[in-house]
């Protein structure tokens, strides 16, 4: 049985950027070579929400549905929780079936390539599809090279029995090099020892071993080489057997920064969008190990949203990262118990409304007596809303006006917009629900503004992250 084909590629990066100059102005120097700016997750973004953004784009590119996903692999070095499987929530957001096989890969920046390796070995899956999602938002200490380089982004590959893309060859290798890039248990910041020659040797040794495992030397249009900064990948040009121009053809680190486990996939997405057809993926992970894969991808549909258009000042950047914000205030937030939250997961994750079996009225959330006919149905007929809608009422909660559980969000991101949205129903009807409106890259929404849903962190309580839908103006959808 042959490996699954690649049917679609999706990529996402936050639209916020911090310029190297802004960091240099604050610190007197900028430590990350070859990085012009980095992508910054908004306060309500993390590896899971970015993964969902990329996965949706990949499924759209492949013209497949979340309900068809039978193998879901999630790769990140920055899982939002140190312990707790996040793939069930990612699967829920995408609408994957309960029987989906899930894998989480973490621990090093080659987790994305390892996830692809595993999925290729596991598939194909008949009519079902595999989804490999790599998403990362590394962090370092504020004055470190790691932090100056740290970016954010996610990429996802849809694997299926048929598809224009093919992984024609792959190989992996390990080489024991401890101490090149690591995060101690319980620590938030990734660190390096800064032993430059040693780190470079680990990088080139592992990558050359992996590439040497390929059947023939790479003959490619672009080489997506692991990019912890904008300099190291070029140091490995000889080791992977390509010229620097071929590496530059898959550059994303200069605009997105270090995207960790998503680095090589994002590089491939960028190169394929620019017309490349044959791409080398050369992923490196500290420890050390490397994975090499040759992708033949002529005609592969790619949907990427990588542009940044909101430039942050350095203080705004520190706020976004929570470096100078107060955390949840004393007094506690509105208490919605975890079981109460869990009962509404289909609504929070996928905007599942309900149709009254008696009168056909559409309601959200689908609970209680039907407001239209007064019936008390045992169950509403589930209706997944498409997620588009129109602002019906709207306010911007000014700085200082947030209720306690949103104080930290406001401290990080500033005033936020809260609206009542009239969501479109599937049959020309509709139903209203409240939602925050993401405003990055858009004018402030007004009554009548068209919006579309996405998933973000709503808030944290008792260390449990609550994910749910927010909307953004259609004009800001990328």
């Amino acid at each position: 049985m042959s490996d699954p084909r690649v049917a679609g590629l999706g990529a996402y990066a936050p639209r916020l950027r911090i310029d190297a100059e802004a960091v240099a102005e604050a610190w007197g120097r900028f430590e990350a070579a070859g990085v012009d700016r980095t992508a910054v997750p908004d306060a309500d973004e993390d590896a899971l929400t970015m993964a969902a953004e990329a996965a949706r784009r990949a499924l759209e590119a492949a013209d497949r549905e979340g309900s068809e996903v039978v193998h879901l692999a999630f790769a990140t070095t920055t899982p939002p929780m140190a312990e707790e499987d996040l793939t069930p929530r990612l699967a829920s957001v995408l609408g994957a079936p309960a029987a989906v096989t899930t894998r989480t890969m973490t621990g090093s920046t080659r987790a994305g390539a390892q996830a692809l390796d595993g999925a290729l070995a596991a598939g194909p899956w008949g009519d079902g599809v595999g989804l490999v999602v790599a998403s990362d938002c590394p962090r370092g200490a504020p004055d470190s090279e790691t932090e100056h380089a740290a970016g954010a982004g996610a990429a996802a590959l849809v694997l299926a029995g048929e598809g224009p893309g093919r992984v024609t060859d792959r190989a992996a290798a390990v080489a024991p090099y401890p101490g090149t890039r690591f995060r101690a248990a319980g620590a938030e910041a990734t660190d390096t020892l800064g032993v430059t020659g040693y780190e470079r040797e680990a990088f080139t040794t592992a990558l050359s071993e992996a590439v040497a495992g390929l059947e023939s030397p790479p003959d490619v249009d672009a080489a997506a080489v692991q990019s912890p900064d904008g300099k190291l990948p070029y140091r490995a040009a000889d080791a992977v057997g390509v010229d620097p121009g071929t590496i530059a053809a898959a550059d994303t680190v200069s605009d997105l920064g270090d995207t960790g486990a998503a680095s090589v996939f994002l590089g491939a997405a960028s190169a394929l969008e620019d017309g490349a057809e044959r791409v080398l993926l050369a992923a490196y992970g500290s420890g050390a190990g490397a994975n090499a894969a040759l992708v033949s991808a002529g005609g592969l549909p790619v949907r990427a949203a990588l542009e940044g258009d909101v430039s942050l000042t350095y203080p705004a950047y520190l706020r976004r990262r929570g470096e100078i914000t107060p955390g949840e205030p004393e007094g506690g937030g509105a208490y919605v118990s975890v079981p109460a939250w869990q009962r509404t997961v289909p609504q929070r994750h996928r905007l599942v409304a309900g149709r009254c079996p008696d009168c056909g009225g559409l309601h959200f959330p689908p609970a209680g007596a039907c407001p239209d006919c007064g019936a008390r149905p045992r169950a509403y007929e589930p209706v997944a809303l498409p997620g588009t809608g129109t602002v019906e009422a709207v306010t911007t909660i000014a700085q200082g006006g947030a209720p306690p559980e949103f104080v930290e969000q406001q401290a990080r991101s500033g005033p936020f917009v809260s609206a009542v949205v009239g969501f479109d129903g599937p049959d020309g009807d509709g139903v209203s629900a409240p939602a925050q409106v993401l405003t990055a890259g858009a004018d402030d929404p007004e009554v009548g503004t068209r919006v579309a849903a996405t998933v973000r962190r709503i808030y944290d309580q008792e260390d449990v992250i609550r994910y749910g839908f927010k909307v953004r103006p259609v004009e800001a959808v990328r």
Binding site: V336, A393, A398, G401, V407, Q409, A433, P434
Partner: protein, 390 residues
């Protein structure tokens, strides 16, 4: 069905009173209510007590009614807490009227109390926020200011009204409140100041929002069988209306009206056999400036979309043909949540007794009070009438 009468009513000053607790505030309101009974009233005459409070701060959430009645020496009477967010004590008065009309009691104490200024802003926001729709609306980061701001956005988009009209509500109510010695914010403000205030939740600014206050109010309700023992100038509860609606704004049919207010108003007018045009004054629930404009329309003072015309023509000023919130309203008099509804009745009682001082509405014989819970999940309206012609 027996008629019910207000034979006395009083309130504490509303404001920030760090020297007072919820019990001492209630005691002051009770004493003022008793003192206002023209022919006097003994504690022993009270058959029952109904106390409205949200319990902000959770200081005595359970058994808060017996906790205040024992403090004023009414130990032993049935005492019940009523909770309906900001409409708690409007509903407490309605409960007293029901008890009297049913024949179960002859004299009932209805009151309300809240202490809101002795804790951090975050704790206050917590308590207020969880009195709206918590699981969905609140979790988009809204407080009540946010939800009323959403209503304002819809209203301003639908009708010929501007944020400046909202500021005119503040100017009017501050002008009235400056004449009320019990007002929390008893000062006048200019339109320029009101327009230029910092934004709270766009389009609402600070002057479009009522304060959080400490305070208590008490109302004594008596049956027609005993009213003559206490006064020869009785104020009759001519009509009561009450209604509820979906708690979350997003679940309602309209965002530019408060349906519960409209229904409660129609009920109260019908019961009293009056029309809005018959009213001499109104105390309406102006927790946010947009709420006063909605009240004009919900209570039938003008047609839909015409509230700004009524306001800008000065018709709801103290010297207009229908003075609204002569007390200063929630905006200037203050809004100690659980005390607000009973405080409105206390103001109406003063007006109808001709004891409202500088803010007295001339020849007041028929008034309406309008008390809303949350953003419109509950509303209660009372029509009060002075029976003795002047």
């Amino acid at each position: 069905m027996r008629d019910a009468y207000v034979i006395g009513a009083g309130q504490t000053p509303f404001g920030a009173m760090p020297g007072e607790g919820y019990r001492s505030l209630f005691a002051t309101a009770y004493e003022r209510a008793v003192e206002s009974v023209p022919d006097g009233l003994a504690d022993s005459a009270i058959d029952e007590a109904v106390v409205g409070t949200l319990g902000v701060g959770g200081r005595q959430l359970g058994l808060s009614a017996p906790a205040v009645t024992e403090h004023v020496g009414l130990g032993g009477v049935p005492a019940t807490r009523i909770e309906n967010a900001c409409a708690a004590s409007g509903y407490a008065v309605r409960q007293a009227v029901q008890a009297v009309r049913s024949g179960m009691a002859d004299v009932v104490l209805a009151g309300g109390v809240e202490v809101m200024t002795d804790m951090s802003g975050d704790v206050t926001k917590y308590w207020l926020g969880v009195s709206g729709e918590t699981e969905w609306e609140r979790l988009t980061g809204t407080t009540f200011a946010g939800v009323y701001a959403q209503m304002a956005s819809a209203y301003l988009a639908a009708h010929e009204a501007t944020p400046e009209h909202l500021s005119m509500v503040a100017v009017k109510n501050h002008r009235h409140g400056a004449m009320n010695p019990d007002a929390h914010l008893g000062f006048e403000c200019s339109l320029e100041e009101a327009v230029g205030a910092p934004t709270v939740a766009d389009p609402l600014n600070l002057y479009h929002c009522c304060p959080t206050s400490d305070g208590a109010a008490a109302v004594l309700v008596a049956s027609e069988d005993v009213v003559a023992e206490y006064t020869d100038d009785p104020v009759r509860v001519a009509g009561v209306g009450a209604a509820s609606d979906r708690v979350g704004l997003f679940q309602r049919d309209t965002y530019t009206a408060i349906e519960a207010s409209r229904v409660a108003g129609e009920q109260a007018y019908a019961a009293a056999g009056v029309e809005p045009a018959d009213l001499d004054f109104a105390e309406v629930h102006d927790c946010f400036a947009i709420a006063e404009l909605l009240a004009y329309e919900d209570l039938g003072f003008c047609d839909r979309g015409e509230a700004a015309r009524l306001l800008e023509a000065g018709r709801t000023d103290l010297d207009g043909d229908l003075p609204v919130n002569a007390s200063g309203g929630l905006k200037a008099k203050g809004h100690p949540i659980g005390a607000t509804g009973a405080g409105q009745i206390a103001e109406a009682y003063k007006q109808l007794q001709g004891r409202a001082g500088d803010r007295q509405v001339e020849d007041a014989t028929l008034g309406v009070t309008h008390n809303v819970g949350g953003s419109g999940g509950a509303a209660v309206v009372h029509v009060l009438e002075r029976e003795v012609a002047r």
